[in-house]
């Protein structure tokens, strides 16, 4: 019996509201799953968390002595989130059926996910530094030195981070939009509601879970962002928590207490945010996929060309221009304000492909870790989401909070906790790829949970319940009903997790060994010690590697027919 036929049968038999079965009596398989998953999450998250909190509260609390940096950090987080939500939300609302080139644009607007923020920041610093930026050189040639765009500034760091973070709200919001039941919109229109009112009263409230989830994710990610503030903010005197953490950890003796104190502060902010999010969403229903069939919205969007134009502008700013800058840097002996001195060369590509000893080993390790992390975390994320949303498992709220913890702390600080814990653990994993897999799985668990929970939230429990009433076991209902319906979201989560794993650097730099080095570390090492052209060339290789794997996975998805 297929999921559709079970759903149909349940609907027609009028047994869609027998929720009591799932929520009152907890079947054994669910109970075992609940306990097992909670245990795994606790083992992954708690030891490093305890290590960090213990270290962070051991001496004077560093943020108290730097109120300016605390303010900078909060401003950076808030404004970046605002920027990313406006961009990502605008893109999600713009790219609806009927927009010219929509399918291509949907793929292009998520391209910034493939570019690491470090590369995007470097690209923009070459594009819009006040004296030598390519854009400024062109501007100065056209209108003189009166107009200068200076991206090496606090505003520059915020906008560039917003550009890099926008795909996250776009993905979550566009998935939520796709799942909207058009009958709700039609009902509003039939009753005479104007488009603006429909948007305000129907669409916005139904998008609230995805909007809040993505806003929290972006905010927390922005708080933990190091590379963009380091490249664009620090030279302008704009220091945030992560640049303080970097300086604390890289100096000798390392001021780990200061670094972890910053981590504890950010953890506290995120816990408060998560509570606020739960309070907003707690008592409301956002279900849009039920047992009743619906047909897609047939209305033509207004101003399709304008919407497409906005999306193309975003693609240009977030992907095309930084890529051009990277390609320019990778193909030039060096970048300088004097164009006459520049000469094109393949030396950087030759270096990273032939001479740089870390390239090929790192590429292989990165792909392996990316595939394993994405698979493990998307499954674990689904399990956590299901327990939190579908069961009355005691402590499910705690499980939800716990699964968010790794995100709530800057990756550099959480990685310290991982190092302190795993260097002590008497398992033969220290210095192997295994320890990196554990670190990645812990670090990206929140993304797996949030991505899958957004999908599960929109799936009415009546579908599973109906299957159970029709005689399906819990496992059978999961396999035939829940999993097929969340599969597209799972695949999107897998791709996101794979790409993020390919870019992970904070845990890797503390935990890798010569044979478990990954591409992101190789790029970071070049950034710290090498030549910008080499960084750009290796960054390209990293980008291409990610794109090839994601292309293969998406190709398989299309062949299987659930695109």
């Amino acid at each position: 019996m297929t999921s559709r036929s079970i759903s149909k049968r349940c609907s027609t038999e009028g047994i869609a509201h027998s929720r009591v079965i799932l929520t009152v009596r907890l079947p054994r398989a669910e109970a075992v799953t609940g306990v097992g998953v909670s245990l795994v999450v606790a083992l992954l998250v708690l030891p490093p968390l305890v290590a960090v909190v213990f270290a962070g509260t051991g001496s004077g609390f560093a943020p108290l002595h730097h109120p300016d940096v605390v303010l900078n950090t909060l401003l950076f987080g808030l404004l970046t989130t605002l920027c990313a939500m406006l961009l990502g939300g605008g893109l999600a609302l713009s790219l609806v059926p009927g927009i010219p080139g929509r399918v291509l644009l949907e793929r292009l607007v998520v391209m910034p996910l493939y570019l690491t923020p470090l590369l995007t920041a470097m690209g923009w610093s070459w594009l819009a530094s006040p004296k030598s930026g390519l854009v400024n050189l062109l501007l100065h040639a056209a209108v003189g030195a009166r107009v200068t765009i200076n991206v090496v500034s606090a505003a520059g760091a915020i906008v560039v981070t917003g550009l890099t973070a926008a795909p996250l709200p776009f993905l979550l919001l566009s998935d939520a939009l796709r799942a909207l039941d058009p009958t709700l919109l039609e009902a509003a229109r039939v009753h005479g509601a104007k488009p603006r009112l429909v948007f305000r009263r129907i669409i916005l409230p139904l998008l609230l879970p995805a909007a809040l989830a993505s806003a929290v994710l972006v905010f927390v990610q922005a708080l933990g962002m190091f590379s963009v503030p380091a490249v664009l903010g620090m030279p302008a005197g704009f220091n945030v928590a992560t640049t303080e953490i970097y300086q604390s950890l890289e100096s000798y003796p390392p001021r780990t207490a200061d670094a972890t104190a910053w981590g504890v502060l950010l953890l506290a902010i995120t816990v408060l945010l998560t509570f606020a999010q739960a309070a907003v969403l707690g008592r409301r229903s956002f279900v849009t996929i039920t047992g009743k069939a619906f047909r897609p919205d047939q209305h033509r969007p207004r101003a399709p060309r304008l919407r497409a134009g906005m999306a193309w502008s975003y693609v240009a700013l977030a992907t095309v221009l930084p890529l051009i800058a990277l390609l320019w840097a990778a193909s030039s002996a060096f970048i300088t304000a004097d164009i006459g001195l520049m000469r094109f060369t393949s030396q950087h590509f030759v270096y990273v492909l032939r001479d740089y000893p870390k390239t090929w080993l790192a590429a292989g390790n990165s792909v392996l870790l990316g595939v394993l992390t994405a698979s493990l975390v998307s499954l674990l994320g689904l399990a956590v989401s299901w327990i939190v949303l579908r069961t009355r498992h005691r402590g499910r709220s705690l499980l939800d909070q716990l699964s968010m913890v790794p995100l709530s702390m800057p990756a550099m600080v959480f990685a310290l906790g991982l190092l302190w814990v795993y260097v002590q653990v008497p398992l033969p994993i220290y210095g192997t790829i295994g320890i990196l897999l554990i670190a990645y799985a812990t670090h990206y668990l929140p993304f797996g949970v949030r991505a899958t929970s957004a999908a599960l939230r929109q799936l009415h429990p009546e579908l599973e319940e109906a299957a159970r009433v029709a005689g399906a076991s819990w496992l059978h209902a999961m396999r035939r009903i829940t999993l097929p319906l969340v599969q597209p979201a799972m695949l999107a989560a897998w791709v996101l997790l794979f790409v993020m794993s390919m870019q992970e650097v904070s845990s890797s730099i503390l935990l890798y060994s010569s044979h478990s080095i990954v591409l992101s570390v190789a790029v970071f090492d070049l950034w710290e010690n090498g030549n910008p052209g080499d960084v750009a060339a290796l960054g390209f290789l990293q980008l291409i590697t990610s794109a090839v794997v994601v292309g293969v996975v998406l190709g398989m998805r299309q062949r299987r027919g659930f695109a």
Partner: protein, 339 residues
Amino acid sequence: MIRLILSLCTLALAPMLARAADPAVIEAARQEGALAVADAAPGENFQKFMAAFKAKYPFLDIATGFYSAPTGRVLARVNAEIDARRLSFDVMLAANTAAWIEMTQQGRIARYDSAEYAAFPTGAKSDGYWAAAQAIGVIPVYNKNTLPAGLTLTSWRDLLRPELADHQLAIQNAAAGTQFNWNYLLEQTLGSDFTAKFAAQRPVVMATGAQLTDAVIRGEVLIAAALDHWRAFTPEAARAGLVAVYPAEGMPVTLVPVGLLAGAPHPNAGKLFIDFILSQEGQRLLDTELYGMYSMRPDVPPPAGQKPLAETHPLLPADAQNYVQASRDFPQHFETLFH
């Protein structure tokens, strides 16, 4: 040309000049079978150096335990392993003399009386524990294509000129050992008012030396005031127009010591490595040929195109304990000056 011929001759003779290693140590190293080095020297050049070592001792696995990262991370990793009593490294090469002094006092560095220590001057070694495998000058570097005509640099005090105020100069942040050495040694030499006046110039503070070099090449700043000297001598830097300045008052020097870690799993392999890296042959290969850095051994020539170390008036810390304390206080001191 004569210099090149001499260099080639010395290279050819170097294996004969190197002291023969103790056969008992070689045999013990053979039994150990591996060497794990934690290295803070940047880039792929160190792997070339390791390959030369491997050619001498092919029975050692030098790849499995090798770890390469900037100094801060090398120290964090090594100390975390020592704290956890799970040391996997034998030898450490890291550019922070204060850390070496402290780790030696804490018993974290093993005593090893390498015969090569005798070739190093006092101040570049801690007899029986470590010696400087590399020496990096910290100098001002400018781009001849962007520096305004008439602005000449011969002294550190030239950096205090009014025309260099407001983001025309760049330095590294407090985490960089280069920056600490620059501050400490110039304050010792020129007085603490020098760094206060320099801070009043409102320099740009950057995260890494590579970023600093890039900013000078691109003309975003006029002068990198505290740059590792070798960065100005790479072929790309020379083509881009970078010029190294050796100020008259002297050049602060950052040492990159190497030593055997206490509790090393392969101590004999570690001893062979230390003997090799500190030998004339090893120093010439590592510093003169591969990195373009200085060797503290007087019998090793400077890299091509660079002033001999003695002529740069190298500035080194005179009081080890004062240096260590200043290193601890530096983040706060830096913040007071530059934030």
